[in-house]
């Protein structure tokens, strides 16, 4: 009996070891390793005197919380919640072969719409929170669908349209908040939105008892639910398989009768919905001690959407991978402030994340190259041509 199980596990492990998934995970880990290595080098160059402490704070990330690691873990999950959604937003579009660089605009639109409902929707009673959340998702979906429509119908480079929509969304939101809605929604002195109504805040759902003072709320449960749901849609439904077939081979999908244009628009709408929910959950979060969150009216495109890109890539666009990648990225981000106090600008964290993204763009290729080298024992060989080229067809 025990032997049976052992044998089964070994064979499963052996299968896994040679599978694509394993290669992807090793590639992601390689990219992370290189990113952190570079981070350490930068720390050493910037200021060698504090380097020891700096490196340890970087590696300790979320666990460095002076009030105890438990709060650190709670904070990690809390701050990672919107990132899980932007990561899913980029990953979902990736599966259809579309590069969703516009997640930031979708996130901003979701955040704004949820904020409007959360502050102005006084008559909604206990439904104010779910309606605000849903409204945020729909606003994001609209913003995503616009980019999808421009790609599907007019063949517009989706990287450029995504960036343009990021700016358009940000300026529209800031103009409306700074103009007509200013008297109702903005704290003039701080130039930030006021916090949303009590009824519009995400419930803590006892998570504040398990992780006290961390701000963690029901949002993380919604995030985990969404990860499962997206996995189900992509792998167990005809619709999801159709979307993926467009991503893998557009011509074959067309031949098989999949409406490619519809697939791109729907995929972007769903991606936008996810990003919009992420933004909504950020602004509706009760945060620590129920103080609520605010949106700053600065003319800057929010970074949360861009973080979705390395998250989707590190997670290899797999929903579960995205979940862990978002936790990792947030783990590193939490090291930013403690490092700032040592004299290392907190941007070092963004620097490391960008380096990780850079390496993950070709980590898979490097990983396969090393594997091939081991097999052939011909180290002078050039890159084998059958292993390179694109890992996935990406539309621009």
């Amino acid at each position: 009996m025990m032997n049976d199980i052992k044998q089964k596990l070994t064979s499963k492990w052996n299968n896994f070891k040679v599978s694509q998934g394993f290669k992807n995970i090793t590639a992601s880990l390689l990219a992370i390793l290189l990113g952190i290595l570079l981070g350490i080098i930068i720390i050493l160059i910037t200021n060698i005197n504090n380097a020891g402490l700096g490196i340890s704070r970087l590696l300790l990330g979320a666990f460095n919380n002076p009030r105890g690691p438990w709060i650190g873990i709670g904070q990690l999950l809390y701050y990672a919640t919107p990132l899980i959604f932007t990561g899913l937003a980029v990953a979902f579009a990736f599966k259809t072969g579309v590069f969703n660089i516009g997640a930031s605009g979708q996130y901003t639109m979701g955040l704004f719409t949820a904020c409007v409902v959360g502050i102005m929707g006084d008559g909604l009673g206990f439904m104010q929170w779910p309606i605000a959340l849903l409204a945020g998702g729909l606003a994001g979906a609209l913003w995503g669908a616009i980019a999808g429509i421009f790609k599907a119908l007019f063949n517009v480079n989706i990287v450029i349209s995504g960036i343009m929509l990021n700016y358009i969304g940000m300026f529209i939101v800031n103009s409306i908040l700074g103009g007509p809605l200013r008297p109702y929604m903005v704290d003039g002195a701080q130039n930030r939105t006021i916090v949303v109504d009590q009824a519009a805040r995400t419930p803590y759902a006892f998570l504040d008892k398990i992780f006290p003072n961390s701000g963690l709320d029901f949002g993380i449960i919604i995030a985990i639910g969404s990860v499962v749901l997206i996995w189900f849609v992509l792998n167990k439904t005809v619709f999801g398989r159709e979307l993926k077939s467009v991503g893998m081979n557009r011509d074959a999908a067309k031949y098989a009768g999949v409406n490619e244009k519809r697939a791109i628009i729907l995929s972007m709408a769903i991606a936008g919905f996810l990003a919009g929910i992420g933004g909504a959950l950020f602004i509706l979060a009760p945060s620590t001690r129920n103080l609520g969150n605010q949106y700053s009216l600065e003319n800057v495109v929010l970074g949360a959407g861009f973080d979705g890109i390395p998250i989707a890539l590190l997670g290899n666009s797999h929903p579960v991978g995205v979940f862990f990648a978002a936790l990792f990225i947030q783990y590193i981000k939490l090291a930013g402030d403690p490092m700032q106090s040592l004299g290392y600008a907190s941007e070092i964290v963004n620097l490391i994340i960008a380096v990780i993204l850079y390496f993950s763009a070709f980590a898979l290729i490097v990983g396969q190259y090393i594997a091939k080298l081991k097999k052939n024992k011909k180290p002078k060989d050039k890159l084998p041509s059958d292993l390179v080229t694109k890992p996935q067809e990406v539309n621009q």
Partner: protein, 323 residues
């Protein structure tokens, strides 16, 4: 009117330079999504150089010569940064869109980090002493205002770069070969052209021009640099697409986009518009003009993208050993 046109030049010229930067890269077969990041890097090192020369070392020098040196510094910084794109796209044959995005994020983070580490601020200032302020041809007020009194060296450098680009792609062996590498690399290779070498040349020239264009964007419109060129690199890519990868048309496209960009900045200075704004206070004109250049970009791309004349092999990695 003269004011608006001279303002337009401040936006048209960097747009033109950076779009031509994209042209060199795409003609050789590499999509350069990283232009935004290259601009940021160029602008940062150019402004840092000016800051050091003007405020730290206090070098007494002809401002035009100083600006020329700063533009070269910006270009070299862009060139070095673009080698990261070349390594990723040409050597590793990885996905250029993702790699370019990584470089954009990297540039944004790097300049803020360096800025904080070097000058302990996110903003670096320079003395704006580079306007010509010349009285040459003062008998012809318009020409004097736009081209001599309120002009910058960058205007002339931009025009020079355009002329050189046209000549390179029309008449030189280098230009024709570069185009061949982006259109049909296999054929180019069988004709004895070293495709890898030409693609590297394309990316590095692109990096130099992109970095120079980044500084050319900051100098006439600001007195400091704060780590962003607000999507200008992507607007330049749109200019390239609208210009259908032809240098002369890129100029027209740059003028078109530059005009809308100018409008979004100076709209309240135009009498007609400020009149509208006071008669219809409920219409959000400010928002309208703010988003105008970005909306125009979307609409123009929607009209022109159906029939794309992009170099055929642009964005496709080339493997010299494959069949």
């Amino acid at each position: 009117m003269s004011f608006i046109i001279s303002q337009s030049f401040y936006f048209i010229i960097p747009l033109l330079i950076v779009a031509l930067a994209g042209l060199f890269s795409e003609k050789s077969g590499t999509v350069n999504i990283a232009l935004e990041g290259i601009m940021v890097i160029g602008a940062f090192f150019g402004v840092l150089f000016l800051h050091y020369m003007q405020s730290v070392l206090k070098v007494q020098m002809n401002p035009q010569l100083l600006l020329l040196l700063a533009l070269i510094v910006a270009g070299i910084a862009g060139l070095i940064f673009s080698s990261l794109l070349g390594f990723l796209a040409i050597k590793m044959r990885a996905d250029q869109t993702i790699g370019g995005t990584a470089l954009n994020l990297l540039a944004a983070a790097l300049v803020v980090y360096l800025s904080k580490a070097i000058v302990h601020d996110t903003r670096i200032y320079f003395s704006p002493v580079f306007e010509f302020k010349s009285n040459f041809l003062h008998q012809v007020p318009f020409v004097n205002y736009v081209f001599f009194n309120h002009a910058y060296l960058t205007t002339y450098i931009g025009i020079l770069i355009l002329i050189i680009t046209v000549l390179v792609f029309k008449y030189t062996k280098f230009g024709l070969r570069l185009s061949a590498c982006g259109e049909h690399p296999q054929a180019a290779q069988s004709a004895g052209i070293n495709v890898i070498k030409y693609r590297w040349a394309g990316v590095l020239i692109s990096g130099f021009l992109g970095g120079l264009g980044g500084l050319a964007y900051v100098i006439p419109t600001s007195i400091s640099f704060e780590g962003t060129v607000s999507g200008y690199g992507f607007l330049a890519l749109a200019v390239l697409i609208f210009g259908q990868w032809k240098p002369s048309r890129v100029l027209l496209a740059a003028i078109f986009f530059g005009f809308f960009k100018t409008l979004s900045v100076v709209y309240f200075g135009i009498d007609v518009i400020s009149g509208w704004m006071s008669s219809y206070p409920n219409i959000p004109f400010a928002m309208f003009f703010r988003i105008l250049p970005y909306v125009v970009t979307l609409i123009v791309l929607a009209i022109t993208s159906k029939k794309s004349r992009a170099p055929k092999a642009s964005g496709i990695p080339f493997d010299p050993l494959a069949g």
